[in-house]
C-alpha cells in the first residue's frame, strides 16, 4: 500500500512555495510598480498562457506547430471585434472569441492527422501565414493594416483599462488555465498524449483513438493561445496584423523550449525569458535576436530539458 503524505506537506513543496512567492511578488509589483513594470508582468502572464497551451501540443503530444501566432491573432481579433461591433464586455467577448479559434484549431487538426514532422511544420507554417494575410486583407472587417482599436475592458461599470486592474483579470485566467492544464496533464488525456508522442503505433494498439487526441491537443492549444490573444488585445487596446507574424510563432516555440517542454513552471520561465530579455538588451538593436537564437541552439544542444530541467537537476541533487 502506498504511503500518503498529509495534504498539507504534499502542498508545501519547494516548487509550490516558489510559485507562491513569485505570485506574491507579481501581485505586489503589479500594484505598486511603475506602469511599465506592470505592463511587463501582464505580458509575462499572457505569454505563459500561450506556453501552457502550446506545451500540450508540442511538449506532450510531440506535434510541431510553426503557426500558433495565428491562433493568438484570431483570439485577439475575434474578441476585439465582438467587443467593438456588438458592444460585448470583455469577459464575454474573450471566451466567445476563443471558441472561434478553438473550432479552427480542431479543423486544422484534421489535415494534421495525416502529416508528420516536416510536412506538419510546413502546414502549420502555412496556417500562420494565411491567417495573418487574411486579417490584413479583410480590411472592411478587421481594419487591415490600419489596425483595430479595441474597446475598454469593463466589468459591470468598473473600468479595467489600467494595467494594475487588468492584471487581476489576467492573473485569474492564468491561475485557472494553469490549474486546468495541470489536471489534463496528469490525467487520462495527458497520458494518452504522451503515449501518442512515444509511439503512435503502440498507442493505437492500446485502444487510444489517435485522431481524437490529436484534435484535442490542437484545439486545447488553440484555446489557450486565443484566450491569451484576447487578453492581449484588451491590454494593449490597439492591435494590427503585422505583429502576429511567423517570427512570433517561432518565439512561442522558443518559449516552451527554453523554459522546458511539458512543464507548467517551464512555461512561466520561458515566457519570462521572452519578455525580459529584449528589455535587458534594449540599447543593443539586434542583440535580442542573437540572444534568442543562440539560446535556442544552446538549450537544444546542451540542455534539451530547458531551464526547468536545470532546476529539476538541482532539486534532485539536493535530495
Amino acid at each position: 500500500m502506498m504511503t500518503q503524505a498529509s495534504p498539507a506537506t504534499r502542498f508545501l513543496t519547494i516548487k509550490n512555495s516558489m510559485l507562491g512567492l513569485l505570485g506574491i511578488f507579481a501581485i505586489v509589483a503589479s500594484q505598486f510598480g511603475g506602469g511599465y513594470m506592470v505592463y511587463l508582468i501582464n505580458l509575462v502572464c499572457i505569454f505563459t498562457l500561450v506556453s501552457i497551451g502550446l506545451n500540450l501540443l508540442v511538449g506532450f503530444s510531440g506535434q510541431i506547430s510553426l503557426g500558433h501566432a495565428g491562433f493568438f491573432a484570431i483570439g485577439a481579433y475575434a474578441s476585439g471585434l465582438l467587443g467593438k461591433n456588438l458592444d460585448m464586455p470583455f469577459w464575454l467577448s474573450i471566451p466567445l472569441g476563443s471558441m472561434v479559434a478553438t473550432a479552427i484549431g480542431a479543423l486544422i487538426a484534421l489535415p494534421a492527422l495525416r502529416l508528420k514532422n516536416l510536412y506538419l511544420a510546413i502546414a502549420t507554417l502555412g496556417f500562420g501565414i494565411v491567417t495573418q494575410k487574411l486579417i490584413f486583407e479583410w480590411r472592411a472587417f478587421t481594419g487591415g493594416g490600419g489596425g483595430l482599436q479595441v474597446p475598454l475592458p469593463k466589468f459591470a461599470d468598473y473600468d479595467l483599462s489600467d494595467g494594475r486592474h487588468m492584471f487581476w483579470a489576467i492573473l485569474f485566467c492564468l491561475v485557472i488555465g494553469a490549474w486546468m492544464a495541470n489536471k489534463v496533464a496528469h490525467g487520462r488525456t495527458g497520458r494518452a498524449l504522451a503515449m501518442l508522442r512515444e509511439s503512435e503505433v503502440a498507442a493505437g494498439c492500446l485502444g487510444i483513438r489517435i485522431s481524437h487526441y490529436k484534435v484535442i491537443a490542437f484545439a486545447l492549444s488553440a484555446f489557450y493561445a486565443a484566450i491569451a490573444g484576447g487578453l492581449y488585445a484588451y491590454l494593449v487596446r490597439y492591435i494590427n496584423p503585422e505583429s502576429f507574424n511567423t517570427n512570433m510563432s517561432i518565439m512561442f516555440l522558443a518559449m516552451i523550449v527554453i523554459g522546458g517542454m511539458g512543464s507548467i513552471p517551464g512555461a512561466l520561465m520561458g515566457a519570462a525569458f521572452y519578455v525580459i530579455v529584449p528589455e535587458l538588451l534594449r540599447g543593443f538593436k539586434e542583440a535580442p535576436g542573437l540572444v534568442f537564437g543562440l539560446s535556442l541552439v544552446a538549450v537544444m544542444v546542451l540542455m534539451p530539458t530547458g531551464l526547468i530541467g536545470i532546476w529539476r537537476k538541482f532539486e534532485a541533487k539536493k535530495s
Binding site: 502506498m2 489534463v184 487520462r188 503502440a202 493505437g204 494498439c205 492500446l206 487510444i208 483513438r209
Partner: protein, 259 residues
C-alpha cells in the same frame, strides 16, 4: 468480454510488389495458445500487423467471433479484445510505471476532456478505481514494487512485463505476442512463460505467439502454425510440426534454437 475464436481466412498481403503473406488461414480457438513460427522473412510480422489493424490485407478476412476485423482501426480492434504486445516495448520514460499502466485503463476512465479540466469528483473517483485495478494487475505480473519508479529506469525484462500488464488492463481476451522472450535471460523467460500460462487459465485468454525459441513453443503452445515465404506449410501440435520434414527444410540454413 467473452472469449471468441480468431479466424484468419485466406489472408494475403503484399508490400510494394512483394508478396509477404499468401493465402494464410488458421484459427485460434478460445483458451488455446497457438504458436506462429517460421524462418525470418516468412511473413509473421506482416501477418500480425494485419491482424492488429496496422496494415490492410489485399484479400481475406480476420474474424474475432462474428466480428470482421479487416478495415477497422487499431484502436477499434483493441476495443474488440485483441491485445498486441510488440517486440520492442514502448514505454513513456518520464512517467511512472503506474502511469504507464494507467494508459491502458480506458474502460474505467470514460469522461469528457471538459470534466477532466474541471476536476469533477466523478473524474477523481474513476481515477482511483483505475489505480486500484492497476495495483491488482501489477501484483499479478510482478511489478507492484516498481509502480512509483520512472519507466525509464525499468530493466528490459520488466518493460516486457509492463506491456503484458497493459494488455491485461485493456481487458484483452486474445493476446498477440511478438517474440515475447527476445532479449530476456533464462530466469526471466521462465517467469514470463509461467505468467502466460497463468493468464491463460485464470484470465481465460487465448494467445497467438510469434516465436523463434522452439523450447518455448513446445512448452507453451497447444498448436503451431508454420509460415514459410508467406504460406502455411504445416499446422498441428508442436511435436507434429517440429518433426515435419517440410518444416525442417524451411529452417535449413537457419539456426534452430533448442529444437
Amino acid at each position: 468480454m467473452k472469449l471468441d475464436n480468431l479466424q484468419v481466412k485466406s489472408v494475403s498481403v503484399s508490400f510494394g510488389g512483394v508478396q509477404a503473406v499468401r493465402n494464410v488461414s488458421f484459427t485460434v480457438e478460445p483458451g488455446r495458445i497457438v504458436g506462429l513460427i517460421g524462418p525470418n522473412g516468412a511473413g509473421k510480422s506482416s501477418l500480425l500487423n494485419c491482424i492488429s489493424g496496422l496494415s490492410r490485407p489485399d484479400a481475406g478476412s480476420v474474424m474475432l467471433g462474428s466480428k470482421e476485423l479487416v478495415g477497422l482501426r487499431p484502436d477499434q480492434i483493441a476495443e474488440c479484445g485483441l491485445g498486441r504486445v510488440f517486440q520492442h516495448p514502448e514505454v513513456i520514460g518520464e512517467l511512472s510505471v503506474l502511469d504507464n499502466l494507467l494508459v491502458a485503463c480506458h474502460r474505467n476512465l470514460q469522461f469528457s476532456v471538459l470534466s477532466e479540466m474541471l476536476g469533477l469528483p466523478s473524474v477523481r473517483q474513476a481515477e482511483m478505481k483505475a489505480r486500484e485495478e492497476v495495483e491488482k494487475v501489477a501484483r499479478l505480473v510482478g511489478l507492484h514494487e516498481s509502480l512509483q519508479m520512472n519507466a525509464a529506469s525499468l530493466p528490459y525484462g520488466h518493460r516486457k512485463l509492463l506491456e503484458l500488464g497493459r494488455v491485461i488492463l485493456l481487458g484483452s481476451k486474445l493476446l498477440l505476442l511478438d517474440e515475447p522472450i527476445a532479449g530476456l535471460n533464462e530466469a526471466e523467460i521462465e517467469q514470463l512463460a509461467q505468467l502466460i500460462m497463468t493468464l491463460r487459465s485464470k484470465g481465460n485468454l487465448s494467445v497467438l505467439l510469434v516465436e523463434h525459441n522452439m523450447g518455448l513453443v513446445r512448452q507453451l503452445c497447444d498448436e503451431a502454425v508454420v509460415l514459410d515465404a508467406g504460406q502455411v506449410i504445416a499446422q498441428g501440435t508442436p511435436e507434429q510440426v517440429l518433426n515435419d520434414p517440410k518444416v525442417l527444410l524451411a529452417y535449413l540454413g537457419e539456426v534452430v534454437e533448442n529444437a
